[in-house]
């Protein structure tokens, strides 16, 4: 049965962002990511934040989904900010509690760093939420294909990524099914301390791993029996087209980055 797909991040709705070519989106995301590390002014951060918020709105993906992407990094962000604030000795001293000193530079640096990570994750989330996994990996393969001459396995890398992404929801569903089957045999996954709960996971992890290996074998055989022999001479069912609007989107992303760095 259809289970929750919290892990398949692609959010299939129609929006201007969903309609863009994957390659344009990957490049634009890359530019924004680099830009985020070059930006060093309040105005620059305001500009990029505003653009990201606008893009989230344009993607028609519920904002709550992005909060979901941010949740796993929240702890790391908090930790980095704490270190930055406590151990940076730049600028004027704001507080001084003996061993602990908070400096102006540290506080600003910490806030910028937090903003940087949150914007980075949101931007990456925009890419995966608006791009179907297959289009995404096709895009990566295309962008990496110049490296094929250097024997870089671009096709294999893209195929492996596609398969991995494809099987996240499947494994998730399988894990849920096995969890329920063991719950039907009396396992209570919600009670007891961390050690007891970890032990309760064993009856799920063993069959899940065995199943994953079996599935991998079956997939390899199915692919071979349908004539798959690697990327050599393989054509595409859906050839992506790079249109004017993709070029415009790229140019706009470049402008935003340059603008953000210069202001």
């Amino acid at each position: 049965m259809t289970a929750s797909r919290s892990l398949g991040q692609f959010y299939p709705v129609a929006s201007p962002l969903h309609g863009l070519d994957a390659r344009a989106k990957i490049l634009a995301t890359g530019m924004l990511a680099v830009g985020l590390f070059l930006v060093d002014s309040v105005a620059g951060f305001l500009l990029i934040s505003a653009v990201v918020v606008l893009l989230v709105a344009a993607s028609r993906v519920p904002p709550g989904t992005f909060l979901g992407f941010l949740r796993p990094v929240a702890f790391i962000v908090a930790l980095t900010v704490l270190f930055q604030v406590l151990f940076s000795r730049e600028g004027e001293t704001l507080f001084d509690w003996g061993l602990l000193e908070v400096h102006e530079g540290g506080l600003a640096g910490g806030l910028f760093l937090a903003l940087r990570i949150l914007l980075l994750v949101s931007t990456a989330g925009l890419l995966t939420a608006t791009t179907a996994p297959v289009a995404l990996t096709d895009g990566i393969e295309d962008l990496l294909s110049p490296l094929k001459r250097l024997r870089f396995p671009a096709h294999e890398l893209a195929m492996m990524t596609t398969i991995a992404l494809r099987f996240i929801p499947t494994l998730h569903e399988e894990a849920q099914k096995i969890t329920r089957a063991q719950a039907a045999r009396g396992v209570d996954f919600s009670q007891g301390g961390p050690i007891r709960r970890a032990r309760a996971m064993l009856p799920v992890l063993v069959p899940l791993t065995v199943g994953a290996f079996r599935r991998a074998d079956e997939l390899a055989e199915a692919m071979e029996s349908r004539g798959y022999r690697g990327g050599e001479g393989r054509s595409r069912y859906r050839a992506p087209r790079f249109r004017a609007r993709d070029a415009i989107a790229l140019a706009a992303a470049a402008l935003v980055v340059v603008g953000g760095v210069l202001v």
């Binding site: 259809t2 289970a3 299939p12 089957a181 009856p203």
Partner: protein, 275 residues
């Protein structure tokens, strides 16, 4: 125990583009004895329904009653122990190093003591004709053997109601036949059984009551005779009923047989009468 579903609806992933309404107001009763057959095609909501019988899934709306009281009133694992649920392809959840340990997994958490647990494991394996497998590793067994062991793993809790989701799916006919024999033996021993299947012929052989599920709704329910002879079209009746309902037109003395043996006897009677 008697389980009742009252206007149960279940919606997966509500409020997202993946939203699916799997059950659209299902009301039915699982009596304290006998075999209830639930039939329906893929996507009819059978497996979702099965998981409501021990509240692994909670209804989005509607109620599940056990002996007239809300099933949520039962404490923690009690409902799961009293209603044994065997999932489709249950062998996917085998994990212990030996068959014996896997079957002992559920009863050993009931606080029965080692001796009683051993006795249950032995008896359950015997009932399923799998005693000779006790010391083997589950992953090294054949498909049919794994299925027996997996069913034993639930049956060892001595549930009052046993729910089997597609028990014979992917098995050879002989093993499937054996399993249906085990279902009959358990029924005769007083266990209430729910067999969920897409196979009308299989359900016709074992069911005392039948419920046809379609698109998350109950399309028909009652005795096999009532349900199958009300709609003898190909997709809703077993081969025996289709055959007999064609013959009934010229020869009403055929009656309304459902099981294979009954149908055979009716046809023999017909032939002898005309001898």
């Amino acid at each position: 125990m008697r389980i009742e579903l009252e206007d149960v609806r279940h919606v997966y992933a509500p409020g997202t583009p993946f939203e699916v309404e799997a059950l659209r107001g299902v009301s039915l009763a699982v009596e304290a004895d006998g075999v209830l057959g639930i039939v329906g095609g893929t996507g009819s909501g059978k497996s979702t329904l099965a998981q409501h019988l021990n509240l692994l899934l909670a209804p989005t709306s509607g109620r599940v009653l056990v002996d007239g009281a809300d099933a949520r009133m039962l404490k923690g694992g009690e409902l799961r122990r009293r209603v044994g649920l065997v999932f489709q392809h249950p062998e996917a959840a085998l994990f212990a190093p030996t068959v014996e340990e896997d079957v002992a997994f559920a009863p050993s958490r009931l606080g029965l003591g080692e001796e009683e647990t051993r006795r249950r494991v032995r008896e359950t394996l015997e009932l399923l004709g799998a005693s000779h497998l006790a010391g083997r590793a589950p992953h090294a067994l054949s498909g049919g053997e794994k299925r027996r062991v997996a069913i034993a793993g639930v049956l060892a809790m001595a549930p009052e109601v046993l729910v089997l989701d597609e028990p014979t799916a992917g098995l050879d006919p002989a093993t499937g036949e054996d399993l249906l024999g085990i279902v009959r033996a358990l029924r005769d021993g007083g266990t209430s059984i729910v067999v969920i299947s897409h196979d009308l012929d299989e359900v016709a052989e074992v069911a005392d009551r039948v419920c046809i599920l379609e698109g998350g709704e109950v399309r028909a329910a009652g005795t096999p005779e009532e349900v199958f002879y009300a709609h003898p079209e190909a997709s809703l009746a077993p081969a025996t009923v289709r055959t007999a309902s064609i013959l009934r037109d010229p020869y009403p003395e055929v009656g309304k047989p459902v099981r294979f043996e009954e149908t055979l006897a009716a046809l023999n009677g017909l032939l002898e009468g005309r001898g």
